[in-house]
Symmetry: C2
Subunit: 225 residues, 2 copies
């Protein structure tokens, strides 16, 4: 948690504040005062606020994408020849995320929340940065999904992947708030691992749903007003 180097102190503070409040809502002054560092240090070490955002993502995304690649390597090796199943692919992704070495106990949820924010908040510069830095593991994941669901048409698969992304990004991006609600309403504590364990079967079942229902079932239509 506590690095004494200025750069790391800034990254730690920024990561946490970005995850809590989003990018635009977090000012450099909040970051530098939380990091106990001079305001000018951000622009000195990173160049700009946007570059700091990129650095925050790079710090955890680069090791994560390496972990993910090797997880996919091992998975494919174990399946020699046969394409991995949908469940195996989703689990490889989940386990890679969960097993990433964390700087502190909030590590995973910060990680997830930042990924959700990256997708959710428009932030054009961020999306471009992520696309050109991490497109490889992403398209590899897409390829595995395709092999694991040969029964789906390209269009069906496309949309169902979007649904999966949405459920994941959305849930993770508000997971702290959701956990609070759950704690208050049901008196239950939840870890990110448990959320992931609930999410994977949901996604797998949705992905493999039998019918694409192109018209509503009889009797479900509202009468025309």
């Amino acid at each position: 948690m506590a690095q004494s180097d200025t750069v790391d102190r800034i990254l730690d503070a920024a990561e946490e504040l970005f995850a809590e409040r989003g990018f635009s809502e977090t000012s450099l002054r909040m970051i530098t005062s939380k990091a106990k560092v001079n305001l000018a240090a951000v622009n000195y070490h990173f160049g700009s606020k946007n570059a700091l955002i990129h650095a925050v993502f790079a710090r955890f995304l680069t090791p994560f994408s390496a972990t993910l690649e090797s997880a996919f390597d091992q998975l494919e090796a174990r399946c020699d020849g046969k394409p991995p199943t949908l469940n195996q692919t989703l689990w490889a992704l989940t386990e890679s995320a969960v097993r990433m070495p964390q700087r502190n106990e909030k590590g995973i949820s910060i990680f997830m929340r930042l990924l959700g924010l990256a997708y959710t908040q428009s932030q054009g510069h961020l999306r471009k940065f992520l696309e050109q830095e991490y497109s490889e593991p992403f398209s590899r994941f897409m390829g595995l999904l395709k092999e694991a669901t040969p029964q789906l048409s390209a269009v069906d698969r496309y949309w169902r992947i979007q649904f999966m992304l949405g459920a994941t990004a959305f849930t993770m991006s508000s997971s702290d708030a959701l956990q609070d609600i759950l704690r208050n309403k049901l008196g239950v504590e939840t870890t990110v691992q448990e959320i992931a364990a609930r999410l994977v079967p949901f996604l797998a079942a949705g992905m493999q749903a039998q019918d694409t229902m192109l018209t509503p079932p009889a009797g479900a239509r509202l009468p025309v007003a």
Copy 2:
């Protein structure tokens, strides 16, 4: 599309800009210049930026929640006694959203995107506003879901509902961009109705997934490094 009244022009512009860029990233000056209205008009007619955000939500959420209530009424009447099925409940919601009278062709995706933002961007004041204004149809929907999935534990159901919300809000909120990609890559046209038709079976299948897998399947674990 084009209302000549100042209040409506502001609401139209704000709605579109908020959906595109989020709340903090949209300034009053952007809104008023898009609406071709004086800057002070927002504070004159609405009182503050936050109150404008509330008004944007109220304008589409109030009629929607009325539509939804009556859809649920009809559904329960048709089922007399028996609880509606999960598919029926989801379809009632979907049809209500799709059939809402829209101000323009982007109506539904703006609507969905705003709902997603309301959940995603922290914006404490918004969450409070929505909770106290629209808790009724929300909890009614939750009640129907509960009756339709008696096999789920409260905690499982809670999380699966979050997953459904996520898949829906996320997909609909970026459906314009997604449709563009689909058109270019696969040469297919897609309507919001068709997306909904693909979404509902996905959600229903995920919601009814058999197992909540609290440990990964054997052989899916990564060897310890």
